[in-house]
Amino acid sequence: MSLPSAIDPCDLSLIEAAARLREGRLTSTVLTESVLARAAWAQARTNCFLRLDADAALRAASLADEHLAVARAAGVDLAATLPFLGVPLAHKDMFVGTGSSAGAAGGLLPSCGSRVREVAALLAAERHASDIAPRPPAATVIARLEAAGAQAIGALNMAEFALGATGHNAAFGDCRNAWQPEFVAGGSSSGSGAAVACRATALSIGSDTGGSVRIPAAANGVLGLKPTYGLLPRTGSMKLSPSIDTLGPIAHCAADLAAVLQIIAGADGGDALASHRVPPDYAAALERGIEGLRIGVPRNHFFDVATPEVRTAMERCLAVLEGAGARIIEVTVPDAAPLAELSRAVVYSEATALHASQLRAEAARYTPQVRLRASTGLAIPGTVYLEALRLRLPLLGRFVREVFDRCDVLHTPTLPIPVPRRDETDVGAGSGLWEILAKLVHCTAPFNYLGLPAIAIPAGLDARGLPLSAQFVARPFAEATLLRVAAVQQRLLPMPRAAGSRHAS
């Protein structure tokens, strides 16, 4: 096995690493050792891991190497049945483990980024062990990745209960930006964004209820996909707002997102709100390019708070995509103004209901900002909550008809402002804090409310050397179209290699 000297095995994309493992050009043990070394480095830099089980990861790698060797000797191609065999991955700490993973809540309940869960998890484990209460089902998306051969080696940092867009976590320590640690990693899937950027995992599954996959992907210079509501089953994952929650992958490249989406999409029988549509061939879509694709640029709302530097970066993206054959069209987006707050009406109502028991028993153990967010639904009348849900249907219909009859994808910045510093977005940061926090979700939350798919794609660096990101949104279940745009943008507007890694340029 030999690799170019400048590239560690952990720098490979998921599908490239998996291919080398199958072909015998790389062993899972070598790959895992490389990932563990990078994870240790990333942890010191960003605090992206909450748990990492190196011994178990190496045992799993050794087993995978045996399987790979047997398959090669027998002439069996594992590409179709175990496409990710021997690849170590790490995910947001919000998934019930399968019990077979090396880390990532293997057999444990997730912390959900909170100390509040520690006692609850211990009590629940006792009840499950004594069969007093049924064990919650393992997370389907993680089980599907493991069935494809991937091994979860650890659990990644996150905003407490996914209630935060910056990556601050007073319980376990903030997750820091992979490029410059004094800046936020973005949240709530903060550890996923930072770990992927550091290449401590090739891909990570997070969740997105207001931007929680796309914001950390944007802040750390990697890709983040929020699929259509219902594409990915949420069985075994922490709930924040079930009417809006989606899971989503963060990765370096569109090809990895496509490969993983193919594995994890589709109903599982456990999540009643997962779609039974048959997913298309996402990898094949990547080959189509974007010739003739209509990109809509909103005249209203989404660029209202964008800084000049962000606007310039977005114009550069559009020029590149236009050069690749796309057509740029201006569109007026209907009803854009209230969408983010409609999302809040739903999310806070449901979050407060889900947290009510814990708030009654242990309110003081919540960190202050999270306690505030988890309690806000107390003051939203039930009628308002239900009306916010009911209005979603006509708003969605109008949005899709008026936007996606004119264009194939809608373009906005992911973050309309530069990545903020951690100290200016921490508790007690002053009056500017709330304005920054609002702007962070200005372009993302509307699409959570509507349930539309959206992707964050790196769009270069700002003057401080921090990532900028473009967002593209499509009609329901058009993830393949978003991945096509991502593949082209990445090819024509590549980011500097290995954000935050030892190889950063």
């Binding site: 209005l391 249907l393 006509p394 969605l396």
Partner: protein, 102 residues
Amino acid sequence: MTEPGISMDVSPSATARLELGIASSPSLSPAAVRELGALADIPIDDEAMALRIAVGAGAAVMAVAAARVALQVAGALDDALLGGEPADHLATLESLAGDGSR
């Protein structure tokens, strides 16, 4: 996720209210928030927290009102008693999906 109480100055609903002629915000006092908390047996023992919850909840209420008015003006508001219900969201998404040709 999102933030309570941030929308009064920077977010869209403020603009929407002006556009739609809804000038005033609903008034919910911090004391009322604390009473609601007490009623639900969820303690809100911090005045600043109660204030932010009041502002955030008020903004959410106004956003719903703004969306309702916008849909009414556009003639796009369906019949509450005979039209769709929240549980139809996934089916609506599926019905609005394209054929994948683009």
